[in-house]
């Protein structure tokens, strides 16, 4: 890959995909490509972020994202600290701002944050000096998931222009859907969303996607299916009649794929999977699935993000030192 990479990364925070340019997204993907190679080395660790401290501040449950960020930081030799809301001072009523500023007083460089409220990382970035990375905020954005999805698509298919990607499931409550739509649109892919009417927000077309309520239509002609998790806890709110009906109307099964899908369709899922609900067993573990590749690629993509942000932190630290000398 001998591409001229001329654009420069200048952002201190990664809060979402919406504000990024296509070039910035591609820069992250290109750098992630090199980190993927690092992960295949006999010693999959480099000294790049030595001396930097990264805090994982997770105010919502997570296995994949948190371990992925933690591993990415460790592979880059940064020190990491994990704070899980349920066992921290949040339960004593400390505000997010106070918690963050106290952590920052311990001299840290980046905060990776997941929060149930949309906009929490944006708020945080305004009250601390550290770089903030959004690891999922409410139903708003999950930028690194969209980046690793894009990376996985590019690795598998090699291009974005004209590619048809269908996102299936609960679009209303999905930050993964939103970040993916923004990313894929910027990269030139065509996005279709599909799910029960109650789980598709009104006017989503304005984000530049096609909408269908017919699963076979979403599968037909698609190069990629990104199947979202059905948040079973939502079912109590009565947004769809029953799990069984959901499976019948929208569940991705081998039969359905063999009947309507392109032969080389790629099936993705951000995890955790409800086996037998949105994905049948044989699809989740079958030949179309790249679900575990997504997880592997996630570490490389997050290393790229940490690396790029660290350069901005270091450049501004260098400037501060100069000012003091002058």
């Amino acid at each position: 890959m001998k591409k001229e990479k001329t654009i420069k990364w200048t952002r201190k925070h990664l809060l979402g995909i919406e504000g990024l340019t296509a070039e910035e997204i591609l820069l992250i993907l290109d750098q992630a490509e090199e980190f993927k190679e690092v992960l295949e080395r006999p010693i999959p660790k480099v000294p790049t972020l030595r001396g930097m401290t990264i805090v994982n501040l997770f105010c919502e449950a997570s296995t994949r994202t948190r371990s992925s960020f933690e591993l990415a930081a460790k592979r880059l030799s940064a020190d990491t600290l994990s704070i899980v809301a349920s066992s921290s001072s949040f339960v004593k009523g400390e505000t997010l701002k106070d918690t963050a500023r106290n952590i920052e007083a311990m001299k840290i460089d980046m905060i990776v944050m997941r929060h149930a409220c949309a906009g929490a990382p944006h708020f945080l970035s305004g009250c601390v000096d550290a770089s903030v990375i959004n690891a999922g905020d409410g139903a708003h954005e999950h930028p690194t998931q969209a980046l690793l999805d894009a990376f996985t698509i590019r690795k598998k298919i090699g291009k974005f222009k004209g590619l048809n990607v269908s996102i299936i499931g609960d679009i209303s409550h999905s930050r993964v859907a939103r970040s993916n739509i923004w990313a894929l649109n910027k990269l030139g892919a065509n996005v279709t969303v599909c799910g029960p009417k109650t789980l598709i927000p009104a006017q989503i077309e304005k984000m530049g996607v096609k909408v269908t309520y017919d699963i076979d239509e979403a599968i037909k002609g698609a190069d990629v299916l990104n199947v979202l998790r059905i948040q079973l806890e939502r079912q109590e709110k009565g947004l769809f009649p029953s799990i069984r009906e959901y499976v019948k109307c929208f569940g991705i099964t081998k039969d359905r794929l063999e009947k309507t899908a392109k032969k080389d369709i790629v099936v993705m899922h951000p995890g955790p999977i409800n086996r037998g609900v949105e994905l049948s067993q044989d699809v989740a573990d079958g030949k179309y699935s790249v679900i575990l590749d997504q997880v592997t690629n996630g570490v490389a993509v997050r290393m790229a993000v940490l690396f790029l942000l660290s350069q901005v932190i270091r450049a501004s630290a260098g400037k501060d030192e100069k000012l003091e000398e002058d």
Binding site: M1, K5, K8, W9, Q31, E33, E34, F35, E37, V38, R41, P42, I43, K45, V46, P47, T48, L76, F307, S310, Q311, R314, A315, A317, G318
Partner: protein, 179 residues
């Protein structure tokens, strides 16, 4: 800081002859090409490594594995450099354990780049030894590092700069001193 070209030290034919001589020296010192691998430091060192490996094949008739290494992740000056280094690919798709590595770079100056490369290489395995080949040695070492094969020694002052320009990266072949 805008530097002007002060002198041209090597032209296209000069570079070619120099690399051929280095290739012969490597083979002579190692008594053939057995167990040798050539690894160039990105950017220009990688192209020079390919040429040296080609020369060695032409001389000895045996393929020599060639790799390239990007040292960005091992740099000690990431906080000092103004321009943002972009990570490029490291391609070492062979085992380096017990191999004799010829590490290739275009210009040897402070020795810091070579230090990075050495640190990175030992994370790939335990080579029998590492030998350093450079097209230009311009002096001013800051680390105890010395080359085993030198194309040309060019005495410089510290604020001068030496540029190796290659077809692959610069559309021409020359070595110039800028001052």
């Amino acid at each position: 800081m805008n530097l002007k070209e002060k002198s041209k030290t090597l032209d296209e034919a000069g570079i070619k002859r120099t690399l051929l001589r280095i290739s012969h020296e490597i083979i002579e010192k190692n008594q053939g090409t057995d167990e040798l691998v050539v690894i160039g430091i990105r950017n220009r060192g990688a192209y020079l490594a390919e040429r040296i490996a080609e020369n060695m094949k032409a001389i000895e008739g045996k393929d020599v594995p060639v790799g390239a290494i990007d040292i960005t992740l091992y740099r000690d000056d990431l906080s000092e450099i103004a321009e943002q280094p972009v990570l490029q690919s490291t391609d070492i798709d062979f085992d380096i354990n017990n191999k004799k590595i010829i590490l290739v770079d275009d210009v040897l100056f402070t020795g810091r780049t070579v230090r990075c490369a050495l640190d990175e290489l030992v994370d790939f395995g335990r080579p029998a030894n590492i030998q350093l080949a450079v097209l230009v040695d311009r002096g001013h070492r800051e680390f105890p590092i010395r080359p085993d094969f030198v194309g040309k020694n060019i005495p410089t002052s510290k604020d001068e700069s030496v540029e190796v320009r290659l077809k692959e990266t610069d559309d021409k072949e020359e070595v110039v001193v800028l001052a």
